[in-house]
């Protein structure tokens, strides 16, 4: 026992104290500020510097945006309006140029009365993409996705309906040959599936299409007004090249990645040299080759559509990068997966289709989407081969008019904003896809 003095009154609290709010300096925004922005002399200095930089930028940008002018006929008028409203020396954005020329940024020089065609093709793109992108959409729509490239081609370029139809018939022919000959072995089936359509396109498709067109005449359901490639520009051009490049480069990239992993010497060598060559040269080199060098090899008078040439080059370029991204995915799979597929007795293609690729592609999604986004932005490089891309081609053309000469930031901001919408959407979709396909139960 202790000899605590008896006068010390023992105190035992029999109720809980109500929780007190933390001191003001330890809670809420103040604490966050102290901890994150003002925790030491260096951070205080950096914070002040940061505030200064933001303030400096906003000082320039906010009045400029606040003084926006939306309707004027030319830059001089724009400046006049800004001076009248906000006094001498005020600067402001002249969005009137976008208001007057936005159709050009979107459609290039596509004939105005036909704007509905690229618009419809763009809307149908989403219908075609829906069954591919989202699990909840009925799978029967996939038939439309298969038909979409032909529909889009016809809508964009016009001409006879029978050209895309006869070309599509070639693919149908190849598929039928494959289905019929499949029981006799893979190699004859694949050979027939490749050779028959090629023969069809070379020997019959052109004539048949011409004959059928001659038969029905240039009537509305079978004929759309033709639009030549030099009328394409702006986002119609960027999206046409981008979508075609994306759609074609993914399968090509998968084949290249598999080819690089192959045990067969010839296939492996071809795949490796293709990938390394394409990755070794800049895209602009390929575009120059497509637009200029190719003409030296082709006989004079040959016309070979420039947009088609660019699509081929962009596709090859993107495919090489996709192949490497997918190879990363393939390499990430444990060896056991390959052995398990062998143990099940699956042949090469079945093993790839059912076991290897679904897992490898899932791992590669962020990389694939990054490549796509990069490729879509790279479509603006076509300006160097004389196509009117939205960022520089159309902008320069607009600036060359005496009405808008001297305008600088507004077209860039407008085009940049549209690119951002597309790329941000792609990026968000890839995150959604990753979540949907997540089969492991890893803690995050």
């Amino acid at each position: 026992m202790s000899d605590t003095p008896a006068q010390t009154v023992p105190f035992v609290r029999d109720t809980m104290l109500p929780p007190a709010p933390p001191p003001a300096s330890q809670a809420g925004a103040l604490r966050w500020l102290r901890e994150n922005l003002l925790s030491g002399p260096l951070n205080i200095a950096l914070t002040l510097l940061g505030i200064g930089a933001v303030w400096y930028l906003l000082q320039g940008i906010v009045p400029w945006l606040a003084h926006s002018v939306w309707s004027a006929d030319n830059l001089t008028q724009c400046r006049q309006i800004i001076t009248d409203r906000w006094g001498e020396g005020a600067t402001g954005a002249c969005w009137a140029v976008i208001r007057e020329r936005w159709t050009q940024f979107l459609f290039g020089f596509y004939p105005q009365h036909l704007y509905w065609r690229p618009t419809l093709a763009f809307a149908l793109l989403f219908v075609a993409l829906a069954p591919v992108l989202f699990a909840r959409v009925p799978k029967k729509l996939l038939w439309f996705s298969v038909a979409y490239p032909f529909v889009a081609f016809w809508l964009l370029w016009g001409g006879s309906l029978f050209l895309p139809l006869t070309v599509a018939a070639g693919f149908g022919l190849g598929w039928a040959a494959f289905a019929l000959l499949h029981r006799f072995g893979t190699i004859p089936a694949v050979a027939a599936a490749v050779l028959l359509p090629v023969l069809w396109w070379l020997l019959f498709a052109g004539d048949l299409s011409r004959d059928l067109t001659g038969l029905v005449g240039r009537e509305v359901p079978f004929w759309l007004e033709q639009v030549r490639s030099d009328k394409f520009g702006g986002f119609v051009l960027a999206i046409t090249i981008g979508v075609a490049g994306i759609a074609l480069s993914l399968p090509l990239g998968i084949m290249l990645a598999l080819g690089r992993q192959s045990d067969m010497f010839l296939i492996k060598t071809l795949a490796v040299s293709f990938i390394e060559f394409i990755r070794g040269v800049p895209l602009i080199t390929l575009l120059f080759t497509a637009s200029l060098l190719l003409n030296y090899f082709l006989p004079p008078g040959t016309t070979f559509d420039i947009i088609l040439r660019v699509i081929i080059m962009v596709t090859l370029f993107a495919a090489a990068y996709i192949a490497e991204v997918i190879r990363g995915g393939l390499a990430a799979l444990p060896r056991g997966q390959y052995e398990a597929a062998d143990a099940l007795g699956l042949d090469y293609w079945k093993a790839q289709r059912l076991i290897i690729l679904p897992q490898a592609l899932k791992i590669s999604i962020p990389g694939i989407v990054s490549t796509f986004i990069g490729m879509f932005k790279d479509t603006t490089l076509v300006v160097f081969v004389g196509l009117l891309d939205p960022l520089k081609g159309i902008t320069d053309a607009v600036r060359a008019s005496t009405d808008w000469k001297g305008i600088y930031w507004e077209p860039y901001i407008f085009v940049g904003a549209i690119f951002f919408i597309f790329n941000f959407a792609m990026s968000r979709y890839s995150m959604h896809l990753e979540r949907r396909l997540k089969t492991d139960h890893r803690q995050e």
Binding site: K231, G233, L293, N295, F384, G386, T402, G406
Partner: protein, 338 residues
């Protein structure tokens, strides 16, 4: 579909390879269209309007050639070319004529295997400075920062000129004209240098043109002219004499308005030969007699084209200067039509 076009092209290529390559004139006639290489957008010289119709000084020349050869000034496909692709586009056959304000130089004419068919605009490099800089002559630009487009003849001229005059300068490299204007307007450089015609249109587009002056010195010769490929003299002759016809027409007072009247009544044999009423100059270049008349009818004679696209009545407001007829103290001098 892509594949079919590709394969179809290869077949066509294979078939056509058997035939000896035809002359440009026959190609153009067979195609029914002239492929004309122009700038992707240069104020006054070549620019597409909101509907994609090309207009401008160089564009008018393309239309005149198309009218002379094909009989219709609208049968032109304008191929926009950049500074990097223009000569290759011509050499590879992508375009038949290049009318893209390109300077006629020795090496371009010989080494690049082009034929400059003449000069349609005499330009020269100048300087623009802000008035409050207090500079009145380019010789006072010692130590100045100069905005200069990279990869052009102007860049080389600038270096040469400062060296000759023993002055120093700091170049600010820019990529395009628009960027140069922006940098200059933002005060990134004291002086902006490019062709004088470009300076004039740039100055006109400023919010405060009165605060900028174009210095009197012209430091280089920039004879701008249309070009064709080496090795097809027949085609080169057609393009050359189309330009000469436009220039001669102005000299003789033949305009798009009075040409029919002159063709019927003018006693001047030179005019009569030009308009195809007399002699047969057209067949000598494998065209018909009315070729020059059609070329003039599209956009008028040289003077009319100049006035409509870049002349003093337009916002660009270029004076004729060196580009006046030789009879007016300029350099335009068309050889006789005989």
């Amino acid at each position: 579909m892509k594949q079919s076009v590709f394969l179809g092209t290869l077949t066509a290529a294979g078939l056509a390879a058997g035939v000896a390559s035809a002359a440009t004139l026959d190609d153009v006639k067979a195609r029914g269209e002239l492929n004309c290489g122009v700038s992707t957008g240069l104020t006054g010289f070549s620019l597409p309007d909101a509907n994609g119709n090309w207009t401008g000084f160089d564009v008018s020349f393309c239309r005149a050639v198309a009218a002379a050869v094909l009989g219709d000034g609208s049968k032109v496909k304008f191929v926009p070319t950049t500074g990097q692709t223009r000569f290759t586009a011509l050499a590879s056959g992508e375009v038949d004529v290049l009318a893209r304000n390109s300077t006629w130089t020795f090496s371009r004419d010989t080494d690049l295997k082009l034929d400059f068919i003449g000069v349609n605009y005499y330009d020269g490099q100048g300087f623009m400075v802000r008035k409050d800089l207090g500079v009145t002559s380019a010789k006072e630009l010692d130590g100045a920062t100069v905005c200069i487009q990279t990869g052009t003849t102007t860049e080389l001229n600038l270096a040469d000129w400062f060296k000759i005059n023993n002055l120093s300068y700091t170049p600010v490299a820019i990529e395009t004209n628009a960027e140069g204007e922006q940098q200059y307007a933002a005060g990134a450089c004291d002086a902006y240098t490019t062709d004088a015609s470009g300076l004039a249109s740039t100055r006109a587009a400023f919010a405060d043109p009165e605060n900028h002056i174009i210095l009197p010195e012209i430091i280089s010769k920039e004879p701008l002219g249309p070009a064709t490929r080496h090795g097809d003299n027949e085609w080169t002759d057609i393009v050359r004499w189309t330009l000469n016809a436009l220039i001669a027409a102005e000299e003789y007072g033949v305009t798009s308005a009075n040409m029919d009247e002159l063709a019927a009544s003018s006693p001047n044999p030179e005019i009569r030969r030009l308009l195809g009423v007399e002699g047969d100059l057209g067949p000598m270049i494998r065209l018909d007699k009315g070729w020059a008349k059609r070329a003039i009818a599209v956009g008028g004679n040289y003077g009319e084209i100049f006035a409509a696209t870049i002349g003093e009545a337009t916002p660009i407001g270029l004076a004729r200067g060196l580009n006046a007829q030789w009879t007016q103290g300029g350099l335009l001098y068309a050889p006789p039509f005989r």
